[in-house]
Point group: D2
Chain length 496, copies 4
């Protein structure tokens, strides 16, 4: 065991995502990796625009790839002074580049601000983490589609405010779960596709890149456009921007932004978003949605797994330390725990939209851990949900048993309608009320009790009554709704 | 004044939305109105499918329109027993219909559950409330577009972690605000367009409608399809649903759902969503986003309005009771207050996704007030934002004054680049550091101090230095970014 | 019904507290009443210190008592300009006083700031609202104490992660609920007792009162202390404060604060707390605690009320609109809904601690509604909890029935211990595992199945096995714990 | 650098607490250490009561102390099956004990449930983490006391809603900050002192310990009391608990609970609190309070550090990667970031009070990370606050400069009072309004402008006006309030 002086978190309190791809994709090392990727892409983009030598870009990429050089713990401790880890990382990367190519060192992080790199890295981490998450949601949806199809006509008690209401089917329940999972998948996939690169420089104007171009004697806004007036003189790059869209396309900053985005594989933002935090807020919302959607599935599984109900059980329940014979719904439990946490984390991210100035003193820093934690919780919940959906054991006999226990209740709506049409509403309701009471007292079925009502016996045959009081025949549009819901395409298709 | 025994909330603590259209659109009376609309639409849809007489639909609509009959306070007190206001409202509506047409009374609320009506009403309230909200966001975006265009080249200090960084333009700031407001508009408009009608009956299967059709001797799943086996016998409507899409289209429940949706103007859901709460969660997320987006604008306005900064002031500041001469940024304050609240409310709504069973015991009830409150806070903030954007007074002179106070800082990045190209990096940085120190100590400009550096004086002309140290010439891609951002179409166009 | 143009909230969506004393105590009228009380107390305190004529204090008190003069809706609309309702209320109160005594009018609100009045009023509202809340918590605790005593030995399945574990008693469960309710009561009572008056003037220095004293030619810091140098000259009241505790006691501001606190019945704060929000944060925490504590009771009641479990039922369940025969646990549902909301509201209040300057632009305004809403939700939940505790129907037979269903499981821990002592651990565990499996398969009791194990039959008598496998004999320290817990004194004693 | 396959979090994104004692005290290894401590204490307590051999307790303690045996990562991965880390840890500890003393192995974790150990370990971690936190809060309070004393009479603009209001003193501001910090200290210290040990066994009845005593032929409720009726027969230990307090004291479970608590140094709970989560909720509330209290200090420091205001600066500001000359208020920024997160985490903990059954499926698991994260955020914020308070640089000259900029505003309240007494209210207000306008337009002081008003010049001498308009003479009770506040005793005394 590491000594108690060591600060590592390596999964002890987070069984939901321990050992998952998402865990590795969100660890400190993954962030360092992503920051180095961002630095390499930035120098590369500058080289592509002639702002840096190609050799410098190569040197940065090589030094960034040598991940063994970077000591995460040391970076963490040095991050404290400036309040973010980019500053020490840039120092180390610069040293590593200088060893390879001293000339190249000055092109490291050139023109960028810490937030450019950390935001870009965070987006890369998110994109990489969401890949297994989306796959797990696809597996979940597929597993639920199979359950729904298989149990299209399996009757189960519909329950409202804890009490049996009227029958439904387990298939419709599973189809409903799937629709939520697909909603979550849609929202996460859309958020992921929009995650942008960050680049704005010190205050979001990309001005430093103009300064470097100036210093090289190049007009910043023209690729082959009109030359600057007088050679070495600083061109009025920032002060006199292009007046129309055509020349805007020629703006150095915008071209750099596009090249940088292309190099990272992330989306190109319309504006630097240092304090326009749409990507983070949208991602937070999609994560909270996903946690909640999976939380609905877990809530139902937990209730239907209760000892007294026992209609479902997890494929491989957890083992209790105190009760070795007990099989616990551990997957559903961990999902439920995630669903309790992510909405609060998302509230921090929505709150961080109100980020002042060109870089805020707190709101940005307050995003880092909640976003990472939300990604992990959702990743863990998605993995658990996939295992749950694929392994869920359904007990139709038990569903039927429970449904029969309150037969009189769950079909009374239908019986009332049928009898009203024959006896009039008042007479029908009185007969039904009497019969329900007798059925409950004597434990006979409602059908039998109704037959003892002379008015009923005179109007309806025993066979009709048997059908009318059969809960499995009273599921309304359940199958039609299920079929419509299942026609919605999921991200993963069943293998043939 | 009402006596202190009266419970009314009529805006005393909510200046943000007092007197606004959104206030009236979300009051208790508006909910009653919407519930009555839902009831009328339901009977109408049943009549359209032959499940109820046309006369009954007319009677219900007439009784629902006679809003003076319904005592909101009395409904509220009677709602306590069952935990929701639909139960007493149905009783009163039934009585009102019976006075008009005794036969029609049995068709009131027929086949529905309370949640069908309250959810539908909530969606109607949301749609109606969002109309002025979206309009106000449009006005806000338009006002900000004007500010951005007008101040395209107005220099202002870019500030990061509370300190001056490099210059930017007020136009780019305003264009950034606008982009957030448009993001919010997009999200709210999309959420609004998707808000669905609710109809599922007791447990989401629409079974009661099948029962009524059966009782009338009609097969529930066939519009002119094969007749039920034996006339008056209950058809196996629920138990044997149609096997393919074609017959699914003929399912009674699905046809009713479509007709009901059409009657209310809301979207038709794929499934009853009693415990599949995508619409509420999505709306909650969009509202939190909007509050945060407007909160960003407010945060900046508040900072730039501070006495020492004074670069902005609200068109009509509030009056202080203790300090009559003081003009407070009241609009921005109220927006900021909203931005602190809505994320927490949204977290409750995301949490309510984990709603168990076919109707949950608590999660649904926990949505009502947070959703209403979030709608109101956002509506108030949007109104305030529109007034703010339209009336904001900008003080370019003061922006320039503040920017000049730290001239040495805000252009040092550019000067360093220019001098490095001429003197080499090390010499340039030393000269710049010395000159910055002297400039700060003696209050001279950085340009002057640099000229006192022999190496600099030998390499750069005074005119060049003047330009290099001019903060208004160091705004990089600000104008190009602004122009690109302003080409994004907003919901409201400037009048010609 | 009010027309849909009217904005009233009068309880339609809040069945939890509709019609309760807390509802009236937190309505807009109650806030106006409390603000008027605060104004009257302030003038009275000034009169007591000789800063205002006694006649002025009388006039203000009389005008404040004439509540019919104040139009809450009109105040609400006029509050918008300045962002708070105190400004228009002071105008109306001043006019009312002037009608009675023109001289007195200038003493209205004299020296105070809006926040002084609204904060004091909020504290008064909280104190008044918590009175019925604390009483309801007392009733709840008493009801639970009765249940615990009555069911001291009623066995019930202990359930962990949804599964039966080992037996416990319903009495211990109820005693645990009571201990949480008492914890909540303690926290709310402590928070209530500490709620302070607010008075600081424009920026928390009480300077205006010094100015008034100066203007009257009185040194502000001396009651019989050394006279100011030269009569009408402004004394250096603020600039040269008393140097020690003795003269500090003589400080005008501190004396006024004490007099004002005494007049309102609220606590005297050590400092004006315009941006030192301990009272609001503490109250928010205590409310969140209470909602959660009651939420625990509700969560258990809901689970034990489920149709399949049926061990508890609410005294008077709510009625379903769709399912007339169904009795819903409405009280527990509404409590559970409150428990989902208050923690989020408290998070807003904790967040508002970070209130900048001497009065913040948003953080203060963001407290108003969440605090009011939290008070109401908790008040409603406490009322519902009292009704629940007093009316809860307990079904010991059903508890025993459910417990027997898993007899083999719930006592296996005990049987294993007993057999291990006789057979050795390994042999005991093997025999128990085999017997448990057979008992589950054949539906026989575990005792019978164990007798079929030769090793067991040779070591333990049939009578011993019957006792060992009797779940009602395996409740450990349940009764001892219950008795210890019940000795904790509650706020309400049972009537003799 | 660890490869990107490694999941460690070692502080990269958490500069607030990287390298702090609290970081090590809350790492995974610290939790393992605390769980081992809990296991050792449990066996020890059983040995003390004769339920386990003394040798077993020694063996467990020795094996638990050999921390190098336990592989935290391996435990984390194995925790997944059962959903908590106690299960694999018990297996490893059992193996370690067996190596030492095979007989002792069966006494490992005997009678306990996973939650007993993890809850106890969490409380130990909290106690250990809060020690440096409380010390840092003490240092903070002491630093602020020194600032307050030193700046007792340093005038500064009081600001409300972003605008200058009337003067106050920086000393009063610092005294107010200190009072919040002391409030936080009090709340955390009280919560810490109450943190209890957890022990209840499978369902909170401590029944297994009774079973072990039975199996050894000892009556569970008597230490030397009356012997069980018939030797080896199971005594009715659970079913017939002691009827009064005296015998309750003799209850085996209660005695064990007391011994276990004594062995850990934690408080003894009245009841097992598996689902009575007062300790966690209270701790969460105290942490949210502390984060908010420090957040207030940070909010003010950030505003007063802004470039335009510049009244404060952090002792050692952070360095910007883009702007090397810039000194950022990094400590305040990190505190502000913490204050944005902890309230949301506390809302999860308050929500977890609603934990169903005897062990909940999700609510408990949802506490682990938020509580740990809240402890860390607060620990980091406390460390930063101590550094901030001890190193804060105060610029009284700048405070005076800013105050003078709005002289006319900040003293108008006082001037109005003085002139009203001489000229009558109406004439005074008119003269003041005119003079204020002229002073603002012409940049002359208010005193000069007032002298130009004939009525004023006739009533007040120039010297009187100079004093009346001197903002440093208008600080009311600031010093008296400060002195009273500073007499509140803090946890740390200044060294002599």
């Amino acid at each position: 065991m590491p000594s108690t002086d060591t600060p590592e978190d390596i999964g002890l309190l987070t069984p939901g995502w321990a050992g998952s791809p998402a865990e590795a994709a969100t660890g400190d090392a993954a962030y360092v990796r992503a920051m180095l990727d961002a630095e390499a892409a930035l120098t590369q983009a500058q080289a592509a625009l002639g702002l840096a030598p190609a050799a410098a870009a190569r040197a940065v990429r090589a030094a960034a790839a040598d991940t063994a050089r970077y000591d995460v713990r040391d970076l963490a401790l040095r991050a404290r002074t400036g309040g973010n880890p980019v500053i020490p990382l840039v120092a180390d990367l610069t040293a590593a580049v200088a060893e390879r190519d001293p000339q190249a060192a000055e092109y490291v992080h050139r023109g960028a601000t810490s937030q450019d790199m950390l935001d870009t890295a965070t987006m890369l981490v998110a994109v990489r983490t969401l890949e297994p998450v989306l796959a797990d949601l696809g597996r979940t949806a597929l597993g639920l589609a199979r359950l729904a199809a298989e149990h299209r006509d399996t009757p189960i008690a519909g329950r409202t405010l804890t009490q049996h209401a009227v029958p439904t089917t387990f298939g419709l329940k599973a189809a409903g779960w799937r629709s939520l999972v697909l909603d979550a998948h849609d929202r996460l996939a859309a958020a992921r596709a929009a995650l942008p690169v960050q680049l704005g420089g010190a205050a979001g104007t990309l001005a430093a890149f103009h300064a470097f171009a100036e210093a090289r004697g190049e007009p910043a806004s023209a690729a082959g456009g009109e030359p600057a007036a007088d050679g070495g003189e600083p061109a009025a790059a920032g002060g006199e921007p292009a007046a129309d869209g055509a020349s805007e396309a020629a703006d150095l900053g915008l071209r750099l932004l596009a090249a940088y985005a292309a190099g990272t594989g992330l989306a190109e933002p319309a504006l630097p978003w240092h304090t326009l935090r749409t990507p983070v807020a949208d991602l937070g919302g999609a994560l909270a949605f996903t946690a909640g959607a999976l939380g609905k599935v877990a809530a139902d599984v937990l209730l239907l797994s209760r000892t007294e109900t026992a209609e479902l059980s997890e494929g491989s329940g957890g083992v209790s330390s105190a009760m070795p014979h007990k099989a616990n719904p551990v997957r559903a439990t961990l999902i439920a725990a995630a669903a309790r946490q992510v909405p609060a984390l998302a509230s921090v991210l929505y709150g961080a939209l109100a980020a002042e100035d060109e870089r805020p003193a707190g709101a940005w820093h307050a995003e880092w851990q909640p976003l990472r934690q939300a990604l992990r919780l959702v990743a863990g919940a998605a993995r658990d949900a996939a295992e749950l959906a694929e392994g869920l054991r359904v007990h139709p006999d038990r569903m039927r048993h429970n449904l029969d226990a309150t037969q009189a209740l769950v079909v009374s709506e239908r019986v009332a309608a049928a009898l009203s049409a024959r006896l009039g509403r008042a007479a029908a309701e009185q007969a039904l009320a009497r019969a329900s009471r007798r059925a409950a007292e004597h434990g006979t079925g409602l059908g039998q009790a109704l037959l003892e009502e002379p008015a009923v016996a005179g109007a309806v045959s025993e066979r009709q009554l048997r059908e009318l009081t059969d809960p499995t025949r009273y599921t309304g549009s359940a199958a039609a709704l299920l079929e419509r819901a299942l026609r919605r395409t999921g991200p993963v298709r069943p293998s043939p």
